[in-house]
């Protein structure tokens, strides 16, 4: 017989693929489920070292530790912690569950007196129309077990978007006080930024488009500050940097006429949110930072994860259509063209489009401010997930 404690015990499995994306999403979700729904979340992660970049307090050598009310467990192969099933298992982004876990589920299914946990595959976020038709469908397994595909998305037929209940009010409070931005920059060790300068955060993949924009920003009228951590995006600018990449340290800055490149330290997720809230434009990538940039209510460029046959451009197009749905055609066209040019690494085009960004910046900012409430569509992912589990 399952107890109330068992019902509140959920396991989330995350295989880290690209350092911050998968773990970024699952860590946010785990924290939110623990905090807002008082669930006993066990987050199994196969690469605690990468995880520690966004949770600096984490000790990668420990097999089990707790932060923000979430039990973080090392997912080794074979498991060095005994798996005890709860009421829900989430495999994040279609990761393969450990053998011991699937064996345990099969044993529970064979035992007529026991109910196996509800098994969910949390999928990637996409704005494509097919997501509506695939969300929450069962997936019949050879073993007779059933798992469900849970798709994040932008419509009420999907699983929604990850967003903490208090996020928008916290962001509004932050943005209402301009001094917060400068205080944050100082705290991050960034120097000589005036409140009227243009601040752009960058967390993209490698792209020549970024290098092209840096050329342009050197000669703009307004001072431009590029806030960029060491990593994939900075590799695109290595030709600009006066020292070898390995010698670059957070807090350093390099000036090129009107452009200053500031090297950011890695921050935790709350710090990253505040950075996005504080910049005028954010260049983000993948899924987690992409969504957080939307919640920042500031204009952004999305550098989408590249896929074979340029399929990522289909996904980009689908999102741009959703995002621009009630935006004036000339604004929508300009913003979409800029995003496309950035993703295609089209150097000249991205520069030309940026040069005319000023003309659409005000309505774009207004749209960015209205977007979060519209996109959330009355329910966030965690609440839809909890409801789905209740109804199952």
């Amino acid at each position: 017989m399952s107890t109330e404690t068992d019902n509140k015990h959920w396991d989330i499995f995350c295989a880290v693929v690209d350092n911050y994306g998968d773990i970024g999403v699952t860590w946010r979700l785990a924290k939110q489920l623990a905090h807002e729904y008082e669930l006993n979340i066990k987050l199994w992660v196969d690469d605690l070292h990468s995880f520690s970049h966004i949770l600096p307090e984490l000790d990668p050598s420990q097999t089990s530790q707790q932060f923000c009310g979430v039990d973080i467990l090392r997912w080794s192969s074979p498991l060095d912690i005994t798996f005890v099933p709860g009421s829900v298992i989430i495999e994040a982004f279609a990761c393969e569950l450990p053998f011991e876990v699937t064996e345990s589920l099969i044993a529970l299914k064979k035992d007529n007196k026991a109910t196996p946990p509800l098994w969910l595959n949390l999928e990637y976020l996409s704005a494509e129309a097919w997501v509506d038709g695939c969300h929450a469908l069962p997936s019949l397994q050879k073993s007779g077990l059933k798992k469900f595909f849970f798709f994040p998305g932008f419509t009420d037929k999907t699983g929604g978007l990850i967003c903490e209940k208090s996020l928008f009010s916290e962001r509004e409070q932050w943005q209402a006080t301009p001094d917060n931005k400068l205080a944050l920059f100082e705290q991050l060790g960034l120097q000589a930024i005036d409140k009227n300068d243009l601040c752009i955060s960058v967390f993209s993949y490698e792209t020549e488009a970024l290098a092209a924009l840096c050329e342009l920003w050197q000669d703009t009228q307004k001072k431009v500050h590029l806030l960029i951590p060491k990593g994939r995006s900075l590799h695109s600018l290595s030709h600009l940097l006066p020292i070898e990449y390995e010698l670059i340290k957070p807090g350093q800055h390099y000036e090129y006429k009107q452009l200053t490149i500031h090297i950011l330290p890695m921050t935790d997720q709350q710090g990253f949110d505040k950075l996005l809230w504080s910049c005028d434009i954010n260049i983000v990538r993948g899924e987690d930072s992409f969504l957080r940039a939307q919640w920042a209510a500031r204009p952004f460029i999305w550098h989408i994860y590249p896929q074979e046959d340029d399929y990522h451009l289909v996904k980009l197009e689908a999102f741009m259509q959703v995002y621009c749905d009630n935006l004036a055609p000339e604004i929508a066209g300009h913003w979409s063209a800029l995003n496309l040019a950035f993703n295609q690494g089209a150097q000249n085009r991205v520069k030309t489009l940026w040069q005319h960004l000023d003309s659409v910046n005000r309505p774009l900012l207004q749209h960015a401010q209205e977007w979060p409430v519209n996109a959330l569509n009355d329910a966030d992912l965690a609440s839809r997930l909890v409801q789905f589990v209740k109804n199952s």
Binding site: V17, F93, A94, N121, E123, Y124, L125, S126, E128, W130, G133, C134, L137, P138, S139, L140, Q141, K142, S143, G144, F149, E287, Y305, Q307, E308, Y311, V314
Partner: protein
């Protein structure tokens, strides 16, 4: 054993001890190049249908049932009638053909495979490639000859698909029945 990505309409797969006819497959791409395959399945024993989703690399037993090479003969609502080389006729329920029914046309000569379960014809698998006439498509809007610009078209049998912009009504085109995709003009 096949992956979900390799399963096609007409296959019969074994799940939880039951044989299921695959009536429809739809492959989409999730993040990081991963495929998602949505299938419409019909339980052969219970005569019930369900929609289900798989990861593209999920492995499943494609059960080898008795199969016969047959050609399409005629439609007697709600059954499609197929005939083998010895002129034996086999009735297959229209619902079991799934999307394949949109490629069935009178007089078609392609050899199909009819699958049997306990002596009953339960599904039909079309050849991988078939040729059909385009019964309607809009004239080329841009004069594109590269084959990269696509537009919708309807072919004999009723299937709709995207074809290259240079394709005209009346053209014969080759279609991949596994994906429903246009391959070339013939």
């Amino acid at each position: 054993m096949k992956t979900a990505h390799e399963i096609r309409p007409g296959n019969v797969i074994m799940l939880d001890g039951s044989p299921w006819v695959v009536q429809k497959t739809e492959t989409t791409r999730s993040g990081r190049n991963a495929a998602i395959v949505k299938m419409k399945l019909k339980n052969v024993l219970l005569d019930s249908s369900t929609e289900t989703t798989f990861k593209g690399e999920d492995k499943m037993d494609d059960i080898i049932l008795e199969r016969l090479d047959c050609t399409y003969s005629y439609f007697a609502d709600p059954m499609y009638v197929f005939m083998d080389a010895e002129y034996n006729q086999y009735d297959v329920e229209a619902g079991n053909l799934g999307d394949a029914s949109a490629y069935i046309v009178d007089g078609m000569e392609e050899v199909c495979q009819v699958t049997f379960y306990e002596g009953k014809a339960i599904s039909v698998e079309l050849p991988t490639t078939i040729v059909r006439e385009v019964t309607y498509t809009e004239p080329s809007a841009r004069g594109d000859t590269s084959g990269k610009v696509m537009k919708p078209a309807t072919v004999s049998g009723g299937a709709t698909l995207s074809v290259a912009d240079f394709v005209k009504t009346g053209d014969m085109i080759e279609i991949d029945t596994r994906t429903g995709e246009f391959k070339k003009r013939v």
